[in-house]
Amino acid sequence: MNSFSEIFDRHPWEKVKASIYEKTAADVERALTGPKRSLEDFKALISPAALPYLESMAQLSHQLTQKRFGKVIQLYVPLYLSNECQNICTYCGFSFDNKIRRKTLTDAEIGREVEAIKQIGYDHVLLVTGEANQTVGVAYLKNALRLIRPCFSHISMEVQPLDQPDYEELIPLGLNTVLVYQETYHREEYKTHHPRGKKSNFTYRLDTPDRLGRAGIHKMGLGVLFGLEDWRTDSFFTALHLNYLERTYWQTKYSISFPRLRPFSGGPEPKVAMTNKVAMTNKELVQLICAYRIFNEEVELSISTRETPTFRDHIIKLGITSLSAGSKTNPGGYAVDPQSLEQFEISDERSPAHMAAVLRQQGYEPVWKDWDAVLG
């Protein structure tokens, strides 16, 4: 069966990387003035040559985003169901080799968390787990969806990659969106960061969006983890992936997320990932957000509480369409067990109400509900 791997294999990493760094000011100007942008234009927009054009890029991104999405920002919140995980990921607090207390929410605990989340106003929830197929497999997820669906109009999920028939079982139970980040498109570097567990299979993860598309998912989210490899090259591959998926699964909606590595739990003191060897500056993240918007006027762009309040406040106008706020990254974090260890430290601890006030102040309507269970 056709999949993205075939296209991916035709783009050697080093060649792609060199072609991005070779882009010139003229390439950037061509990209900024054209009515539609190609993948080559996207390379120019994320290249170092585009940095002097950042203000123009920001203005264009702002204008295109308002035209398509209006003066509104969608709000969602994560609900961590479990931190059990059989994988080793060198940058993650839930990594198998991390000696933290493991916890998977029971039905009653899910109920308490849901109640707490509803009380702070949310209608769109993102379910998160590690990868522990024995305890938190498809059966657990099906049960969780049955419990949670009556309470939310939109349910997203960020869990281990599954097989197509699994997704086909979960979608009718109310699963609207699946986020699956490749972490890095650098095959060898990926192996270094994921030495053990099912996640170590690079190609299986790479073809997950194809399985989701074939299963008929409403929306999927793509992204890489910034800090593992050269962000420009990784972002080109994300855009290449997006381009392929939009053409192939044209009935699916897409979003892009921008996770930068954060300190994570794993002992008495939070550890900073040793692997954050290719840090991405604020300026570069702004460049990337604007580049995505100028490249693709319709894709949703999402930012989490990994970023600081000041940074988040400033990027609201630059192309973002959805935000999380008041997030807890530990199972039970809202009501059941607020003191347990988090997957990573969030940087913006402001409550959803506070965040909504910030949005209004900037002339944006916070949107809590933009889907309905009646829509399937």
Binding site: K67, G70, K219, W250, K253, R360, K369, D372, L375
Partner: protein
């Protein structure tokens, strides 16, 4: 000016409006009031029909506005019929803007599913206003199954590109026995005026008002433009003048 009637209901304003993309519900209400609009479309997915305090619903509950629930988000006829029934029950109106767009990127309407759903919804007693491509044959097919009006697009939704489909709109207007409402793509008051000048019965505007720097003033501008366009249509626009020519090589023989 002649009043517009759709399914027996008279409208003083030929400007219909949308409710998305505004920076606040209060500003939306103010702009819609300024527009003079009497028909306001609301996406079912954006409102919580079980909550009487729903922010958007509170701000469109006004004697001036009739609500036109829309099915934005559905991808098939089956989903549309289901959503329509929920909207009718919750919002207490049998009017429906039928939009089925399986393509979430450009929100292009699906002609096949729309025709199927329209036929069924008319049988179920709905007043159906379908959002469709500017396709003259599809408009006639929809008319045959009993829709109350047709809503062909002027250009891609949210694009502000104006009447890119004008040649097809003119055919639709010429042939249609039901009102023609140009929906989507109208970016400026002059686009709206143009639509009315060529004989469209009404226009539906959202993005151009909601995303402008001053939505209230822009709403007023659209109100005036729609009135001007309609007045011009009723007064019969003068056609570009064809000059008489002195020499007539092709017809001179008639005088010989």
């Amino acid at each position: 000016m002649q009043p517009l009637q759709i399914a027996g209901k008279p409208f003083g304003s030929r400007l219909f409006t949308g409710t998305g993309k505004f920076s606040s519900a209060a500003l939306m209400e103010e702009a819609l009031l300024a527009s003079g609009s009497e028909l306001v479309t609301v996406a079912l997915k954006r409102v919580d029909v079980h909550n009487e305090q729903d922010d958007m619903l509170r701000h469109v509950s006004h004697p001036q506005f009739s609500l036109l629930p829309n099915t934005s988000g559905v991808r098939t006829a089956k989903e549309a019929v289901f959503a329509a029934q929920l909207a009718r029950e919750a919002l207490e109106t049998n009017w429906l803007k039928l939009e089925i767009h399986p393509d979430p990127k450009y929100l292009m309407p699906d002609p096949i599913e729309t025709l199927k759903a329209a036929e069924e919804l008319v049988k179920l007693g709905f007043v159906v206003l379908p959002y469709i491509h500017a396709d003259p044959v599809l408009c006639k097919r929809l008319e045959e199954v009993g829709v109350a009006a047709v809503m062909p697009l002027g250009s891609p939704i949210g694009s502000n590109k104006g009447l890119k489909t004008v040649d097809f709109l003119e055919i639709i207007i010429e042939q249609s026995k039901v009102p023609v409402v140009v929906d989507a793509g109208i970016g400026s008051p002059s686009d709206a005026a143009k639509a009315l000048e060529i004989g469209a019965d009404a226009v539906l505007v959202n993005t151009a008002i909601a995303v402008s720097e001053n939505p209230v003033q822009m709403a007023q501008a659209f109100r005036l433009a729609v009135e001007a366009g309609r007045m011009a249509f009723e007064a019969r626009l003068a056609r570009p003048f064809v000059h008489a020519v002195a020499s007539s090589p092709l017809t001179a023989f008639l005088d010989e």
